[in-house]
């Protein structure tokens, strides 16, 4: 079951890297929230109940409900539904995503250790690469925001890969996730949306030499 969830998570990443509709992004982020909750539920058996509840609440309430809701409100407010300005075509994005997957497998196997779960580490690295690709490859600030959320999910997967012995670190990471995500999304909704048209990253290049 756990492997099934992890594979689904990897598929959601590949889908994310080639999709072009913002509503799909929001749905995929929500789906990843549910998958992460399932993974945490199966994996973190050794942590105390309070921490487990905290982690599950974060993945279910925050990642699955609050963040996608905020993303939908940005989409509705700005009226931008589709990525129309990408640096690379979908086909090349797919090739890059697959290369990232291969690289992640190679790196995770190079880091093989009895105390570290290679499958988690592979997916964590893959998630990180996809997040970075979304930031680099897209020109809309909205896509950059999605890239950041994916990087945060990578952080979560890294936490899972090194086991349940460092609950405090995992909780701090989750608090960061919540706090910074809300902060960034709020700026996106309240400030940038009103001052810049259509949230184009190209509009945010007035600071030059």
């Amino acid at each position: 079951m756990l492997n099934f969830l992890i594979i689904l998570f990897a598929i959601s990443l590949i889908y994310l890297s080639v999709s072009e509709r913002f509503r799909t992004y929001a749905k995929l982020i929500a789906a990843q929230g549910i998958l992460l909750m399932g993974i945490a539920l199966f994996e973190l058996k050794e942590v105390n109940t309070a921490s487990l509840i905290f982690i599950l609440a974060e993945t279910l309430i925050f990642k699955t409900i609050v963040v996608p809701y905020l993303l939908y409100s940005i989409i509705n407010r700005t009226g931008v539904y589709k990525v129309h300005n990408k640096s690379l075509l979908g086909f090349y994005s797919l090739i890059l995503a697959l290369l990232a997957l291969v690289l992640s497998i190679v790196m995770a196997n190079a880091l093989e250790n009895p105390k570290i779960d290679t499958v988690y580490l592979t997916i964590a690295l893959f998630t990180l690469f996809i997040g970075v690709l979304l930031v680099v490859n897209h020109k809309l600030i909205f896509s950059h925001m999605i890239g950041f959320l994916v990087i945060e999910n990578a952080v979560f997967m890294f936490s899972m890969s090194v086991g349940s012995e460092m609950t405090m670190l995992i909780n701090i990471g989750i608090l960061l996730d919540i706090f910074v995500s809300v902060l960034i999304i709020s700026i996106l909704i309240n400030r940038i949306g009103s001052k810049f048209n259509k949230l184009e990253a190209d509009n945010l290049n007035s600071l030059k030499n």
């Binding site: 930031v135 990578a154 600071l207």
Partner: protein
Amino acid sequence: MILYYFIIAAILSLVAVFVKFRRIAKAAIITFSLVQAAFASYAYLHLNQTELSYFTFDSLGVVFLLVLSVIFPAAVFHGFRYFKNRITRRFFYYHAALIGLITAITGAYLANEATVVWILVEATTLFASVLIYHEKTKYALEATWKYIFLCSVGIAFAYMGILFLGFTMNQGGFTDLSFSAITNAASLVDPLYLKIAFVFIFIGYSTKMEIFPMHTVGIDANSVAPSPVGALISTAMVNMGFIIIFRIYAALSATPIFSWMNHILLIAGVLSVLVAAGYMLKAKHNKRMFAYSSLENAGLVAIALGVGGCGYYAAVLLLIMHSFVKSSMFFQLGQLYRVLNTMKLDASGNYMRLYPAGALVLIIGMFCLLAVPPSGLFISEYMIFKALIFGNYWFVTVITMLLLCVVVYAMSVRIMHICFSEPREIIHNKYPEKIHPAETITQFVFLMLVIALCFYRPPFLDELIRQGISIIANH
């Protein structure tokens, strides 16, 4: 004592933001600068004392805390001048955020645990973003967005690095992430994990040290933030980034990855100087030029760390002197804007005629930044090149020297244009502000301090630096 410091800072910050009287807000920030100086003195008098379990007054932290305590009152003074003719409620938020920023930076200087440092660094991002957004212009919004976004990505990378470090510590049988525990456990664990942890942490905190690869964060922030804030971001914040990277570097210095870390630092350092030199040649914005100069100096510091030997001492000394010079230059840029009403290089000119005291600061500051004797930076850069040559790093030596020539050319041409040439572009500036020359006193004092450090370094400073760098195993 540090608990009282945090409590007083929180109270003063709340007073500044909620009691909406200018005089009270001014009294709060002046009181805080006195508290800051008193706390720095206390920390110096109680070296190596640990408080609240997570804060240790070690030499490295204390030396930069003392520097901050000297620069901060000047930043407060120039902040008051910045608000002189501005009737705005932002005055209160500005000072509250400033107190928060300095408190978080102070905490990060003294924190002895990787996770505590990480939390405080995140706090600096939030307070700094309030200050960068202060003007509420389109540019300020862009810079703030980029600052928060990139710092958040950086902090996520640093978190992953700490996670790897935590994992390796667990393997070594250690449960906490204090720098001393990392030092003890690091030699027992798999070097590959340490390498990954170091890379992630280095990339993450490069946002704060304003060094390659995530140097762009600081450049935009410095160019948009009010000048006193720019002065603090490009000095106190850069020093904070350095301290964190240095502590991790020192903790891992007894492991087999030591030479590998040196190579990473050398590469990052050379690339930083390269990027700085390239962009300084293109710079058309006065503040951005000085922001790139910070990148260049941070690059030299990384090279100094990477080469080792007397480079360690030179790195700390360079940062101390850079803090004084760069803060005075940013304070001066604030005055330049009040006189010329522009930050565009092409629209700047005749500054020597319009405000001679300010032009003199720019010229002396330029010589200091470019490490021309009798600038104190000459001593530190001399030591860096000495270490490079004695270490047989000929390639790095030649490349760095060539790039520094470009920096010297780019900066001197621009400063001379500002001071002596006619503006190439005419802007509407009907009533240039008359600034009293006495307002430059703090800047002259800082510059003279840097020149004095070329000839004499007080024994207490020398001792603090030597003790600070002694935590490196191979030193």
